[in-house]
Symmetry: C2
DNA sequence: AAAATATATTGACGATTTTCTATATGATGT
DNA sequence: ACATCATATAGAAAATCGTCAATATATTTT
């Protein structure tokens, strides 16, 4: 996974409103209008955040008639977790000796 | 965990240079001057990124003489993983029925 | 004590992001 | 066909972020 993709994934989680949106989706699929009622932004701003979340594949949207239903993507979340794991586990193989010794 | 703290944690992972820094630390503790050699930013910019990473507790700094050694904080990483887990697991308890039915 | 070295802080600037208003698109109901 | 409703897009303003040069601080070396 390249740095660019990794950054895009975690951008999902570094804005307070997006965190609120994700939290709302923990209780199941919701349409945009329901999300809009619960977070304090305008409709176009919500739409903007949903695009970021969908592009990062943390959330998936499903159109049905005039409504769009959003839900947490289990697949995307799994990928984010793997990405975090890979990024933060110590690499014993290539562990280097020392640095800046006196 | 409040939205503000969550956002601060994941800000660590949403800048390409910070991702590079964390990746470099996977092979073990490194002093700032070593990191500076490897990523293409000025010394004040590196210092700025290290502050963000340390404030989020993803990285810890250890001063020794004139050097500062940085390493991945196992504790902070654990907290980030738990935070991601908590934020993204479906909440079956409070799962709501339906939304925007025709 | 003065010079040198490593890192942090300050302040400015440009780029990016978040937000808004206005408008467009697309579906549904009359 | 026309009005209505849900959502998306465009464009601009405001806020935040990443970056740099200059400078400060703290430690070590001479």
């Amino acid at each position: 996974m390249d740095e660019r993709k990794t950054a895009a994934i975690f951008k999902s989680f570094c804005d307070e409103n997006r965190i609120r949106i994700i939290t709302l989706l923990r209780s199941g699929e919701k349409c945009a209008c329901k999300l809009l009622e619960e977070i304090n932004v305008t409709q176009p701003t919500l739409s903007h955040h949903m695009k970021i979340l969908c592009d990062a594949e943390i959330v998936v949207g499903r159109k049905e008639g005039k409504w769009t239903y959003y839900s947490i993507s289990e697949k995307g979340v799994k990928q984010a977790k793997e990405c975090l794991e890979q990024l933060t586990t110590l690499d014993v193989e290539y562990k280097n000796k020392s640095c800046c010794e006196k």
